[in-house]
Symmetry: C2
Subunit: 460 residues, 2 copies
């Protein structure tokens, strides 16, 4: 039974070296949703495989139909854990809003004693991935071995719907199956309070394009006579919500359960108000379903959101045109037992019913995954909770998350594995937005947390 | 009293040379709405001034706060006419839809005996402008003089709201005031039937931007809680029309008159059906106010059209973002006595009433002009009608137009001049759209028409 103290010491001493390694990974613009960056995604995968090999992992870059996976193996006495993270990042537009180059990471002191790491991918998810890798590196350096048998799986398509993930898990199920999975893509409760995530919303992504005339039209000649696809699309999108903020798609709420009173109560205890959640982003009025607490809205209620819309002339100046087509990207956050396929079909019917007979509409799917409910009483959850509490000096809270991590569902369904969701991101990390950051304390104490968790899991 | 026959002969003989001149003007990408093309606009103005001087006009390029004007003078015995046209053109996007370079004009035979001139600006308005210039050139060449005293005014901002026009007319009123104006920016009834336009819809252009959070948000963390500006904008735009296709802005129909039964009857005689008007653009169902004929919808009814919309992620793939802002370009076609300023104000109130208290909305005006009703019994209208009937062998019909030509109102209000609107464009010229064209017959017989009209006006 090896001592954890020297491992923590080693992590403290090597924080600068670990930052250098993180920066070289962050400098690679591995934007998975834009084909122009395919080579950069591969570069990030190869960087990770090299780094894992330097620790002693048997690691390699694995081909898929899309961006490659990274798989690594290292033996150990304790339980067999599969650690998952992703090396791809979100696009950076609007670039003009970034205070510094998104791919030139830096450490900034934002207030006395508080430093942040800035750049795309710092929090989602490269910084989080490296907390685990650094923990393994330090443990290996100090004890010459790892406390658990560790398999790592790094994905390169998490930000673009994970098209290759399920085929890959199916093909390599035997190689990837472990006792349980560790997923580091979630957040802490706040900067001082660690958290374990036990609930995740699902996601359905759809792109809809409405087509009317076979060419752009002069609004003077045809205005008031010819169908305007922007009007048709705007009406369909506006119809998605009623006055109460509820989604109006028939059957949308099938499978949605009311959150148990005691759970709502425990969330109330977290003192989250519309003010505390919306104030930091310049808002104050909850926009979703009426009569629900802000935390319930983002943790336990389904949504329909338009993520992008375009049509007609959007350049400088003005053009009196009636466009021939208009498009929108729409996503749905799912909870409990909502069925992604049924939601997708119901949305398409909902839109089709609003398109005139002489116009047409097409849809393109962008991923779909059900919501996840995890058991919060598994022994490994309690062991991790104890380890986190030791590291942060505050009890780790069980939270839900508004975002989706489809892999957790795939681990359940395809590999029969439960997952342990521990992450060190924060709500104000601006992931998916300009000026993404990761707290230096998250990066450093995150490494220490994983060292403690691996040790605790090995002790059982 | 000079004979018209030799002038017409001269025009027939010099059609190729006149095409060469037109092509060199069309080759200049004078897109007024995009500042990147400012130098090209000036180039087009210089080209026209040079060409007018070659005919014997006292012509020059005149500075404005925006793109320059071209003014030219030529004496003559008959009445003093002010000829107006514009040398600027619409943007060309989406460029991919053009079958050939929009600024590499060409003549194509589309069916035996029918040729078209292709390229941006062929119909709107460079081709039309040159029909008049060539008529003057030929008359001068044959008779050594012009039948009327002619002042020409060519504008370079017609496609971008004409911001400099009114100040310019006010400043140079004495120089530009004539007995009446000739405007060549309208259409024929069909390829064989000439037309004089006696009614024009007005136009109000508005750009609206809704802002919510102070940054783009992750729809997983904030979806269902934070305001989505695309939802707010889509709802406001969807609310603009009711189930009957009527515009719902309070007071929008103030000043709108019912078209007299006899006028509606004369339009019915033109046999325009939804099929004949919408069929050529791939549509079949009138989209505007219910219970009105297609011609009434585009000639005598006001509209609200969204010309462009943008917000959130519109690139390849998908991004689960809640945008911080969304924008739309909206235009209103006005008829009869509708007041552009009141419509603009009412629209802004309409949108503001739909923006939550913690979000903001801003507006940018893009031009405004009331509708125009012209007298169809002025002597010069009848003289022109006779001349057109002689040239085309078919009676010239009095039509209305869905589009706006703000200058006609300015001529009325600022210079106290009536206008004669004669043009040779066609509804299928795809102006403002990819693959704009102008019938070669419009260009050739348009020149002959102007020679006849100028002669008829001189004879009185």
């Amino acid at each position: 039974m090896s001592d954890i103290a020297p491992v923590l010491e080693h992590l403290d001493k090597s924080i600068d070296k670990s930052l250098e390694r993180l920066f070289s990974l962050l400098a690679i613009p591995s934007i998975s949703t834009d084909p122009a960056y395919a080579a950069e995604c591969r570069k990030a995968a190869e960087w990770l495989a090299d780094d894992l090999r330097s620790i002693g992992f048997d690691a390699s870059v694995r081909e898929t139909a899309g961006h490659p996976m990274v798989v690594g193996h290292h033996d150990g006495e304790g339980p067999h854990v599969l650690f998952y993270g992703h090396y791809d990042v979100q696009p950076v537009d609007p670039l003009a809003l970034w205070e510094s180059d998104p791919f030139a990471p830096a450490v900034k002191e934002v207030e006395p004693g508080r430093k942040i790491i800035t750049g795309r991918g710092t929090s989602d998810d490269k910084g989080q991935v490296m907390t685990f890798v650094e923990a393994c590196r330090a443990y290996k350096a100090v004890h010459g071995r790892l406390p658990c048998r560790v398999t790592v799986l790094f994905e390169g398509e998490e930000e673009s719907g994970s098209p290759s993930l399920i085929p890959f898990l199916e093909k390599h199920a035997a190689e990837l199956k472990a006792d349980f999975a560790l997923v580091c893509d979630t957040s802490m409760w706040d900067r001082e309070t660690p958290a374990i995530c036990i609930g995740l919303r699902g996601l359905v992504g759809e792109e809809v394009t409405v087509r009317a005339a076979d060419r752009d039209l002069h609004s003077g000649f045809f205005g008031g006579l010819a169908a305007n696809p922007i009007h048709i699309l705007a009406k369909a999108l506006a119809d998605l919500h009623d006055e109460e903020g509820r989604v109006t798609i028939p059957g949308f709420y099938d499978g949605v359960e009311e959150t148990p009173a005691e759970v709502l109560k425990s969330w109330e205890a977290l003192n989250c108000t519309a003010e505390s959640m919306l104030g930091p982003i310049g808002l104050s009025v909850p926009a979703g379903e009426k009569g629900r607490s802000p935390l319930e809205l983002v943790w336990a209620r389904p949504t329909a959101e338009v993520n992008g819309i375009s049509g007609g002339y959007t350049g400088q100046g003005f053009k009196t045109v009636i466009a021939s087509e208009a498009s929108a990207k729409v996503s749905f956050r799912l909870v409990h037992k909502q069925d992604p396929d049924k939601i997708r079909a119901a949305f398409r019917d909902f839109v089709r019913a609003r398109v005139p007979s002489d116009c047409s509409v097409t849809f393109a799917p962008h991923g779909g995954s059900p919501a996840i409910q995890l058991r919060h009483d598994s022994p490994f959850v309690r062991q991790a909770q104890d380890a986190l509490t030791k590291e942060w000096g505050k009890p780790a809270v069980a939270i839900a998350m508004g975002g989706s991590i489809p892999i957790v569902g795939s681990f359940q369904n395809l590999l029969g594995m439960e997952s342990l969701l521990v992450g060190f991101g924060l709500a104000d990390d601006r992931i998916h937005s300009p000026n993404e950051k990761y707290e230096l304390s998250s990066f450093h104490k995150g490494q220490r947390s994983w060292a403690r968790i691996l040790t605790a899991l090995a002790r059982g």
